[in-house]
Symmetry: C2
Subunit: 154 residues, 2 copies
Amino acid sequence: MNPPTPRPQPIGRLAEATGLKVPTIRYYEQIGLLPSPPRSQGNRRLYPDSAIARLRFIRHARELGFEIESIRQLLDMADHPDQSCADADSIARRHLADIQSKIARLTALGEEVSQMIAGCRQSSVRQCRVIQVLADHGQCLGEHLAGSVKINEK
Amino acid sequence: MNPPTPRPQPIGRLAEATGLKVPTIRYYEQIGLLPSPPRSQGNRRLYPDSAIARLRFIRHARELGFEIESIRQLLDMADHPDQSCADADSIARRHLADIQSKIARLTALGEEVSQMIAGCRQSSVRQCRVIQVLADHGQCLGEHLAGSVKINEK
DNA sequence: GCTACAATCTCTAGCGACTAGAGAAGCAAG
DNA sequence: CTTGCTTCTCTAGTCGCTAGAGATTGTAGC
Ligand SMILES: [Zn+2]
Ligand SMILES: [Zn+2]
Ligand SMILES: [Zn+2]
Ligand SMILES: [Zn+2]
């Protein structure tokens, strides 16, 4: 007679369903990304099904390199689907610019490091190109400028 | 009569000479990258000229993305110039591999994010491609796998 | 019911490489 | 002497988790 009520899930099952670790889910709750679910008699968290979608969203955004603060805003927007998506798009564009800066920086670093390695004749430290270049930026190819951009994430 | 003795420098001048910030220099001392210099009567650090070269080495290596622990080993080698440079080279090769992994990962992310942005018609959140893709990895181009590689540094 | 064992709970601390701030003391010029 | 700059030490914050301790709860087998 009752409509099939989906059972609330304990945190471990939620972790399985989303690919996140249990402490990570608790962490997301702690920082307010995931609403605190109701608890069982014994104080265990019991999640509604909607938590899975929310956590998958978070996980996917993290895998794509979005910062937690951006994800917070994106989730807010996802919760208000009638608003304009301009803000979501600008977050994504900002993120893309960030990714591209990081790639540019890493490419420059990679070239310098490649050159160091290629230039080494495998003898003593005294004659090692790696050590020599590290000691003197003048021997670098280019500027590989100190990043104003942070190259972060897992 | 005396040979021209270079004056020991206070930390601020060292910061100027190396482009590092004063607290950063103290931090490097604290973690044992830079030896503790003698102090003045008033307990100020007074650095010998050799500190400049050492700090420039550190700074340059950091700008090239080497981790502190690698730099510690590289400095040890630089202090023993008669040894083989094999270890220095393998540190550099490892670092290069790391850089290349990061570039690969960022390139994959960048493609996904570009697609999200390009697919958006700038209307409501409900129809926003950015939000839709974040909610469903199935709409991604590829795998942009969760990094075992850390994309770090400034 | 009882006994294992697994899952979950809270809380704290650690990672890397700094950066920021407080509050005290030293130092040089006017 | 006073003003203002530099330096000192110490603590805490950044980011996104992760690891661990120690306590409690839930569950399956007997
Ligand atoms: Zn070499
Ligand atoms: Zn250089
Ligand atoms: Zn949009
Ligand atoms: Zn995806």
